[in-house]
């Protein structure tokens, strides 16, 4: 199945981003295809590369970046990112800042859109 992932919640405050990440990994392991991961609302903060959590905890931004490096398309909404101080200077490697149209295209192309958030 082709799955699109929408992440609406930021890192750490809630578990939504962790669940989205774990779901995406598990789906790939089960042989599903990930159409893409789109970050919207506070979800864009997941892609802020300046985050530096304590070393004994997970680094959510780094984890997403690595997933992007393995071939999963990561898109950060430009309008939501601008509002929250995320631009090309601070966005993680392997993620792209782009317009909301990408979300529409991703959702339509996938068999399922799954949303993680509040």
């Amino acid at each position: 199945m082709k799955i699109a992932i929408l992440v609406l919640d930021g890192p750490y405050n809630h578990e939504a981003s962790d669940t989205a990440y774990n779901f995406t990994k598990a789906a790939i392991e089960k042989g599903h295809e990930i159409e893409g991961v789109f970050f919207y609302n506070d979800g864009v903060i997941n892609a802020a590369k300046l985050m530096e959590p304590p070393s004994d905890d997970r680094n959510i931004a780094k984890r997403w970046s690595e997933l992007g490096g393995s071939g999963v398309k990561l898109t950060v909404c430009i309008a939501a990112a601008k509002r929250r101080g995320i631009n090309d200077d601070v966005v993680i490697d392997n993620a792209k800042i782009a317009g909301l149209g990408q979300l529409v295209e991703m959702a339509v192309a996938a068999d399922r859109l799954i949303t993680f958030g509040d």
């Binding site: 929408l6 909301l100 529409v104 339509v108 949303t115």
Partner: protein, 127 residues
């Protein structure tokens, strides 16, 4: 707008569940609706739970210093977003009635009808 003529059309519903100014969901959700409208998709919006407050008439955000975006609801028709559904039960639970809502073309449904409408969708966007 980067409209793709080869794009297939899907039935998608934007589920507006939150009060208008306590979080950014209704506002940024509306942004997605407006962009999606450019893609020739079969769009509907459902106002349910605290989401019905978004349609409350005579809102004024001046006192809380937040940008009011209620005018956008009047523009939806120009974007050909014409299926605006309201959950009767959510209105009732909050002591609201049709006369408390803004003057746009709204369709009112009971829960069993809402369930049917949601079941028909291929994509649900919860905001």
């Amino acid at each position: 707008m980067e409209e793709d003529e080869d794009m297939i059309q899907k039935k998608m519903m934007f589920v507006m569940r939150k009060a208008p100014h306590g979080s950014i969901y209704p506002y940024e959700g509306l942004e997605v609706v407006l962009i999606t409208a450019a893609y020739d998709q079969d769009i509907s919006m459902l106002f349910i739970d605290d989401g019905v407050y978004s349609l409350k008439n005579e809102q004024n955000t001046e006192g809380i210093g937040i940008k009011g975006f209620m005018k956008t609801y009047f523009a939806l028709e120009d974007y050909e977003v014409e299926k605006l559904y309201v959950d009767n039960q959510s209105l009732k639970d909050r002591g609201l009635s049709k006369k408390d809502l803004i003057d746009v073309n709204l369709q009112y449904f009971n829960r069993d009808e809402i369930k049917k409408l949601m079941d028909e969708q291929e994509i649900l966007f919860p905001f």
